[in-house]
Symmetry: C2
Subunit: 287 residues, 2 copies
Amino acid sequence: MTLLRSIAEIRVHVASARRLGLTIGLVPTMGALHEGHGALIRRAREETGFVVVTIFVNPTQFDRPEDLQKYPRDLDADVAFCERLGVDAVFAPEAGEMYPGDLHQKMPLASVEVAGVSSRLEGEFRPGHFRGVATVVAKLFNIVGADRAYFGEKDAQQLAVIQTMVADLNFSLTIVPVPTVREPDGLAMSSRNERLTPEQRRAAPALYQALCEGERLIRSGTRSAVQIKQIVTAQLSRNPMFRVQYLEVVDPGTFAPVTQIAGAVRFMAAIWLGEVRLIDNILVLLP
Amino acid sequence: MTLLRSIAEIRVHVASARRLGLTIGLVPTMGALHEGHGALIRRAREETGFVVVTIFVNPTQFDRPEDLQKYPRDLDADVAFCERLGVDAVFAPEAGEMYPGDLHQKMPLASVEVAGVSSRLEGEFRPGHFRGVATVVAKLFNIVGADRAYFGEKDAQQLAVIQTMVADLNFSLTIVPVPTVREPDGLAMSSRNERLTPEQRRAAPALYQALCEGERLIRSGTRSAVQIKQIVTAQLSRNPMFRVQYLEVVDPGTFAPVTQIAGAVRFMAAIWLGEVRLIDNILVLLP
């Protein structure tokens, strides 16, 4: 496995793999790798001949400077993790390599905006977040030139933003969604879980349990999204450690809120647990 | 030469050329081809092994519906023109192929915005124009996957928008600027020239003459942009057929207005001649 820090180097390595007739798989990450990333990498390893993992804590997608600053970073551990999973190349650029000439790491002049799906939920509570995500992902797609790119369903709205970008801008690669990986107690794996205190960590699975309660309500015939949100919010609020930021039943294509449930929906949540913001979601398919 | 109407087809043809080891040259056009386009195509023919000309009157870059409606279209003549110049493939999609599911041909959900250079001059007078241009050019880059793409300096600001997009989003192709081609009387070649009446056509070269007068003033020591603009505007205004929209001395990198000329500048102009809007520009390099 090779660790590459410059755009020129990763391009050379990918070009060599292409000349050997290998297909290229891309797993974009912000590092602090865990088994959620592991699932993306394993899937890429099964489906493509040359697997590139990118590790870049992208400053332009953080709406809060303290969140960027506190984001966990451990390149050595991440590189070892990738090596164990048979990754071919890790691309881990410095911020100045991705955003040259912009010492303040603000958005570059050219950026990708995805209207519609970007405006709600995460987009509403994290202004500029999805523009930062879409722009850095477009850059990584252009730098690596992959055939397939792997994204987790835990960030379902991000996945939809990227799928919209790929379709509308005609990127010639396939986006592969990979199901959320959970801890044995149901908590969705996330690099932010590291920042939870032991007490917060014990409480955290209530987020997933709340989503599952919403699913049970839908399956048992409740069709009013308002009613479901009320019941689930009440359940979460029993623990004063939780501050619910949003809890929403949305159309899984557009992420527009649904009031009366008539088909498949995605049940989305964002909560604060102390200083840590956690998101999770489940897809509910009606029979 | 092949005429292709679908994205899938052009991709297959380009992939075949790539397998033969050919480099790919792209000349994006809106059709109504003239010798200005001819210069782009000839340059691409000299420098690359497989030349693709795209012909697409992009609805999302027209700020005025009547301008889109009146834009000259003659695919048969354009195809014959390309054939004469040794083009390998013409990609001429219908609007529905480029913007599926959007019958009103508005901007797709995902779009590319280039801040800074897009906001001035053409960007100010044609709201949304450069977002439409950047987005369709990003789409064409992703569809064709060229090594080199050719753009005319007549649309100098468009060229700067695209160069910024390519740099900031890490498109892996080279942008080749090609000098403006002029009629013997100096009028910059443009598809819009076709729409001039014979009387307007006879008057039109005054636009280029005015820019040249500005250059003479700079070369003879005038350093105040205001003074130059006053003199040149007065010269153009002698003919009541002209309505000057803007006349500006700008930094050739950022397109920001320059007040005191100290180095290279671009002298930019947009005028109305009856119902036809003409633009032109010249680069003035101080010795």
